[in-house]
Structures are given as structure tokens and as C-alpha cells.
């Protein structure tokens, strides 16, 4: 009895502290991980499409194609792109889970809890991003099967790149979810955005020699700046900058790509946290 009194009084008096908000972020993150871990079907289905792309689409096309760069066939070129695509598609569903939570009512439980809305949005973003990265890593495990050898160092370098892409896409998803109320509408909007983002990002083809209209769209697409660094780390930077983005005649380095994507991610996170706080 004494214990509980002291708990209630100290907590109430303190209000929401930074520590409490961190716990909030962690709790929301942990919930996503728990649900993902329980859902074996989801885990398997989420890697089926990417694997089909690599092993059926990729290998099928490679048979009729020359090497794209010395020692790199189409499947190998495609492989890093598909990792990026997996992460993008998976993290975008952060929005779906927010809309879902609203629809089944759980969002209210979250919104009346004594944690800040911003920490809810952050926890949600990180939870989905973590799952997306895990899925990316699962695909990465298939690298030897397409003739790509990875060092531990490469894998370590890939983790932050994957996480950055995942965070930018999941916060974009959450931002949209705060504005769109029905699951049907969200699914519609998602495929409207997701497929152009995948196709116009250099997942499937090199970014050189594209028609002008496509070139513009590709370079406006933030995902482009997430795919290129992943490809450069996995395949190594190519001498003729086949894997790089050239913007206004300048060939962008890996760090420049990362900077562009990081700016986009930061903007999305801030917007998502702000917009999440405004809902009633």
C-alpha cells in the first residue's frame, strides 16, 4: 500500500520526463517487435517477393544479358536493389499499422497514455524500421547464392544505411497515416506511392542514359539516394560510376547520397511527430 502510494505520487508530481518518453519509445518499439516475432506467416511472406525477384526475375534475365560491369551480372546488380526494395516496402507499412490501430481502437489507449505523442511516433517509426532492417538482413543472407561474397565489415557498413532508408520510409508512412483515416484509402495511397518509388529508384536498372523525364523523376525520388549507397557497399564502387547518381553533371559520393537521404529522413520524422501530436 505504501509502495503504491509513493509510486502514484512521485509519478504524478513529476509529469512526463525525458526518461519517461524514452521508455514510451521503447515500449512502442517493443510491441512491434513482439507482434512481428509472433507472426511467422508474415515473416515468410515478406521475403517471398524479394526472393522471387532475385532468383527468378534476376537469374532469368541474366541468362540473356551481358555483364553490366566487369564481373557483375544482372542478378548481382539487382540484389542490393532488392534489399532496398524489401526495406522500403516493409517500412512503409508503419502507416498501415497506425491506421489499423486507429480502426481497432488501440490507438486511443496509446493517445491517452501519459507519454508524449512525439515519442509514440518515434517508437512506431523505430519499431517498423527495425523489422524492415531484419527483413533486409534475411535477404542479405542469400548473397552467396548469387555469387556475392560479403565481409563482416560490409555487413556492418550496411546496417546504418538500411536503417536510414527504413526510418525515412516508415516516418513517411506514419505521416500519411495521421492524415488518412481509412484502411482502404491508405492501401490505395500506399500502392500509388510505393510502386513508383520502387520502379523509379534504380532498383532494377542503372541510372545512366535514361530519358530526360525519367531522369528527373528518379532524382526527385528520395529512395534513389538509399539504393545507391547500399549497392556501392555491396558491389564496391564501380570505376565508370555505374552505381552512382550523377546530379547536374556531378557524380555523387556515397556520403553525399547519405546526406540527402538523412535530410529527407529528418524532415519526415519531425513532420510525423508534429502531425501525430495534432490528432485528437
Amino acid at each position: 500500500m505504501k509502495l503504491r502510494q509513493s509510486f502514484v505520487n512521485t509519478i504524478v508530481a513529476r509529469g512526463t520526463s525525458a526518461m519517461n518518453n524514452l521508455r514510451g519509445v521503447h515500449t512502442l518499439w517493443y510491441r512491434d517487435i513482439l507482434i512481428f516475432g509472433r507472426d511467422k506467416v508474415h515473416i515468410i511472406s515478406s521475403i517471398t517477393l524479394p526472393l522471387l525477384f532475385v532468383f527468378v526475375f534476376g537469374i532469368g534475365l541474366s541468362a540473356r544479358m551481358d555483364f553490366l560491369a566487369p564481373g557483375i551480372d544482372f542478378t548481382q546488380f539487382l540484389f542490393p536493389g532488392i534489399i532496398g526494395m524489401t526495406i522500403l516496402m516493409s517500412s512503409f507499412t508503419a502507416g498501415v499499422s497506425v491506421v489499423w490501430d486507429r480502426e481497432v481502437g488501440f490507438l486511443r489507449e496509446v493517445l491517452v497514455a501519459p507519454i508524449s505523442r512525439a515519442s509514440v511516433a518515434m517508437g512506431k517509426t523505430l519499431g517498423t524500421a527495425t523489422i524492415a532492417v531484419i527483413q533486409g538482413i534475411i535477404i542479405l543472407l542469400f548473397a552467396p547464392l548469387v555469387g556475392i561474397s560479403l565481409s563482416a565489415w560490409t555487413v556492418l557498413a550496411l546496417l546504418p544505411l538500411m536503417l536510414l532508408l527504413a526510418v525515412s520510409m516508415s516516418s513517411l508512412g506514419i505521416l500519411l497515416a495521421t492524415r488518412i483515416r481509412s484502411l482502404e484509402a491508405f492501401h490505395g495511397l500506399m500502392s500509388l506511392l510505393m510502386f513508383p518509388m520502387v520502379f523509379l529508384s534504380g532498383v532494377f536498372f542503372p541510372l545512366q542514359g535514361l530519358p530526360a523525364w525519367m531522369d528527373v523523376l528518379v532524382k526527385l525520388n528520395p529512395v534513389t539516394y538509399g539504393i545507391a549507397p547500399i549497392r556501392q557497399v555491396i558491389l564496391g564502387a564501380s570505376p565508370d560510376s555505374l552505381f552512382s547518381i550523377s546530379l547536374l553533371g556531378h557524380t555523387m559520393s556515397l556520403w553525399e547520397d547519405v546526406a540527402v537521404l538523412a535530410l529527407f529522413a529528418a524532415a519526415m520524422i519531425l513532420l510525423a511527430m508534429w502531425s501525430f501530436g495534432k490528432q485528437e
Binding site: 481502437g105 486511443r108 489507449e109 508524449s116
Partner: protein, 327 residues
């Protein structure tokens, strides 16, 4: 300490032109069971949403556990527990995991968390099913889990928004046993909205709200005194003639109510046999009843709350059915 735990002063909430809550003021004493009664759309849920910081008042102010609901949101949130009208559980998690989530966002230290979770699950008789996914729970179990969760973090005030809507009468009365028990055990203040009149009788005090205005506030017994007499409901083959006859013969003004009419008499049990014998208009059916809160509502508003409640209940059941079949 103050003599109130909730204080509402001149609260107004407008949605565009609609005035959902129209200048209401009241206070609730610590440990009280306070019922908010009225038909749907009367402003009950809007008021609760303001009190639990989900919505901001247009004007006026509200204090919960000493904190302002607009300026001290997180302190208010920490002080209250909520059981919503619509389900708000994560059905993909187990009952235990739902409570762990709650304990964690309400900053409960691990030292008291596990013990408290076990306690509330045992009170709600869910301990044996704690590891099952919530999607396998029945409607009554889900509601009990929501109650367990609402009181997990020792809230000073527990808000129950239509806590037993759509549940069968047996589960409903069970839930009320728990609520009374909780008040006794932990001195929790209960703030309840309902449109079930029989449910409202569990409250120490009732505020009746209609079209956003408070139209009465008192104990159930004293409210019933508003309708001091017994009520006779009668259906005849010519209601207009019957009204006329009642007026002439007994000097009582009967009111039309659906396809019948009602009027009040001092001693219904003695009145009824004479009435049936003497009455000239053909009687199709007749009933006598002692005053209830339904009658208070009818008296105060000229409308019956139950018709609206029934429609509402059907809507809820349809909604729950929809939700189940969609998953």
C-alpha cells in the same frame, strides 16, 4: 485536501455550429460513483474526452485530481484510467502483454508491476487465460481485460464510458460487482456514462444530460422523487378519446407515448381495478409501474431514453460483428 476530485466549470465544446457541451458545471467527490446519464449524442462522450485530455474545451475549465486538463495533460493522464465504449485492446497480443504495455507507458516500476498485474487479472478472473491472445477472448472477457487495464496503474479516477454496452445482463451485473468492489478496496472515484437506466442506479449521484445541457443532478432516489407518483401506461383503440376521457373523469392530463399513453396517479394499485371497470374507451393493454430513472428522464425531457438506447445497442452489435468478420 480538496473536497472534490473532479471540478468542471462552465464547460463548453463546439464543433462548428453544433454545441455538444453547453455550459455545464459540476464537481465529483473523491470515492464517489458519479453517473452521467443521457441519450447518445447528448454530450457525455464529449465531456469524458475533455476530462481525459483527448479533446480541448472551447471554453470553461476542468480540473482532475488537482490538475488542469488543458495545461497539465500528462499529470491528468497519469491520474486517470479509462475504459472506452469501443474496444481498445491489441488483439494480437496476449492479455498479459496488453497489461505489460500499459504498465510500461504508465511508468510503473517493475517492483510493483508484476504483483499488480497478477492482482487485477485475478480480480477480473482472467489469470488462467493471461497467456492467450486477446483475439480468442469472448466479448465479456475483453471488457473485463479493459477494466483490469484501466485500474492497473492505481488511477485516482476511473472513467467508464458505457462500460457494459453490448454485453449480456449476467456479464453486466458481474462487472458491476467488480466496480463496487474496486471502490471499496481502493477508494477509486468512478465516473461513468451510460444510457442504461438500471445501470445508472449503481451511482451515488447522477447527472442527467440532454442536448449538451445538465438538466438534473442528484442521488438516484431523490431524482425518482421528481416522479413521485405511480405511472399507468395504457393502450386503447382510440387514444384521443381516452385522453379526453381521463381528463374529464379524473382531472389528470395524460401524455402520448408512442402508440399508447401514460399518466400518473397517487396510488396505482388501488386505482387500477376501478379504472378498468369504469373506463369507457376500449383498453388493449395496461400496465402499472413504480417510478424509475426512465420515468425521470421522460418527465424531464418528454422523451423516452430506451428507444434510442435500443437502436444504439443494435448499432454496436452490428459494428462488433462487422469487425469480427472483417478480420
Amino acid at each position: 485536501m480538496t473536497d472534490y476530485i473532479i471540478k468542471v466549470e462552465n464547460l463548453v465544446k463546439r464543433f462548428g455550429k453544433l454545441v455538444a457541451v453547453d455550459d455545464i458545471s459540476f464537481s465529483v467527490a473523491p470515492g464517489e460513483i458519479f453517473g452521467f446519464l443521457g441519450p447518445n449524442g447528448a454530450g457525455k462522450t464529449t465531456t469524458i474526452n475533455i476530462l481525459c485530455t483527448l479533446s480541448k474545451p472551447t471554453s470553461g475549465r476542468a480540473i482532475v485530481n488537482g490538475f488542469d486538463v488543458v495545461r497539465q495533460q500528462s499529470q491528468v493522464r497519469q491520474s486517470i484510467g479509462l475504459v472506452f465504449q469501443d474496444p481498445s485492446l491489441d488483439v494480437r497480443l496476449s492479455g498479459l502483454q496488453n497489461l505489460h504495455f500499459h504498465a510500461s507507458v504508465y511508468h510503473m516500476p517493475a517492483s510493483i508491476r508484476d504483483q499488480r498485474i497478477e492482482q487485477v487479472l485475478r480480480i477480473m478472473e482472467l489469470w488462467d487465460r493471461r497467456n492467450s491472445e486477446v483475439r480468442t477472448y469472448s466479448g465479456g472477457m475483453k471488457r473485463r481485460l479493459e477494466l483490469a487495464r484501466g485500474l492497473l496503474h492505481y488511477p485516482k479516477v476511473l472513467f467508464l464510458d458505457e462500460p457494459t454496452l453490448g454485453l449480456d445482463p449476467q456479464t453486466r451485473s458481474h462487472i458491476w460487482e467488480y466496480i463496487h468492489d474496486l471502490r471499496q478496496r481502493e477508494g477509486t472515484t468512478i465516473f461513468l456514462t451510460t444510457h442504461y437506466m438500471d445501470e445508472a442506479e449503481n451511482a451515488d449521484r447522477i447527472a442527467i444530460i440532454d442536448y449538451g445541457k445538465l438538466i438534473a443532478m442528484d442521488t438516484p432516489d431523490r431524482l425518482k422523487n421528481i416522479v413521485s407518483k405511480d405511472i399507468i401506461s395504457v393502450k386503447t383503440d382510440d387514444n384521443d378519446r381516452a385522453v379526453e376521457e381521463i381528463r374529464l373523469r379524473y382531472r389528470i392530463e395524460a401524455t402520448r407515448d408512442g402508440d399508447g399513453l401514460t399518466f400518473e396517479v397517487a396510488n396505482g394499485e388501488e386505482f387500477l381495478p376501478t379504472f378498468v371497470r369504469e373506463f369507457g374507451t376500449k383498453i388493449l393493454s395496461i400496465s402499472l409501474h413504480q417510478p424509475s430513472l426512465d420515468d425521470v428522464f421522460l418527465k424531464l425531457t418528454g422523451r423516452e431514453i430506451r428507444q434510442e438506447a435500443a437502436i444504439d445497442e443494435i448499432k454496436t452489435i452490428v459494428r462488433q460483428y462487422d469487425r469480427r468478420t472483417r478480420h
